[in-house]
């Protein structure tokens, strides 16, 4: 699943470590989400979206091939 997490994090001037700490996950998990290697759970996706003041749909993008 594609996401705008990297762009949103960069816009906030946050490191992966800092974002991970804010969301209660590891730096590697943030990196995996940004790389599209790991799809976060719904609660984590909602927490991330709320953190950036966006909706889940604005942060995460489900392509047809992801279904």
């Amino acid at each position: 699943m594609r996401s705008d997490v990297r762009e949103l994090r960069a816009a906030e001037g946050l490191s992966q470590q800092a974002l991970g700490q804010a969301l209660g996950v590891s730096r590697q998990t943030i990196n995996a989400i940004e790389q599209g290697r790991y799809d976060p759970s719904l609660p984590l996706a909602i927490r991330m979206a709320r953190y950036f003041g966006r909706t889940v749909e604005e942060v995460f993008h489900v392509d047809d091939e992801d279904r």
């Binding site: 209660g24 998990t29 976060p40």
Partner: protein, 135 residues
């Protein structure tokens, strides 16, 4: 499991696996020494202590080592641990089943391998029923 757990609990958890390794090292040493095998006692304990040392020293540098140490859990790390456990289970099931048929082919009783297969199969069935009702 969230990483937002209290710092004290998380700190205790970080030392659980290394501590268990030390306990196992002591158990190895005690059992081998009781059978008058000092070399085996030394090697067995040294392996476990070295493993504990690797966990402590490298858990901050390697995520895989951090996972082995049960350090800083989150949902992705829990998933990785679950999948690693499943892979381990497949290997053990394959080994146990193979050994059951090897024993039978030799005209012998399956022995402990049969017990492992029976307990494993029963546990899997019970766990499947339990989790299917829970989720």
């Amino acid at each position: 499991m969230s990483m937002t757990r209290t710092g004290e609990t998380a700190s205790k958890r970080r030392w659980l696996v290394p501590g268990l390794c030390v306990v196992i090292a002591a158990a190895y040493a005690a059992v081998f020494l009781a059978h008058d095998r000092p070399l085996a006692a030394t090697i067995g304990a040294a392996i476990m202590l070295a493993y504990a040392a690797v966990l402590v020293v490298f858990s901050r540098r390697s995520e895989a080592v951090a996972l082995l140490r049960e350090d800083e859990r989150d949902e992705r790390r829990s998933m990785i641990t679950t999948r690693a456990a499943a892979t381990t289970l497949y290997a053990l099931v394959l080994l146990a089943l193979t050994m059951v048929f090897v024993q039978l082919a030799r005209g012998l009783e399956p022995g402990p391998w049969g017990v492992i297969c029976g307990v494993g199969g029963l546990t899997f069935i019970v766990a499947t029923v339990y989790h299917s009702r829970r989720y």
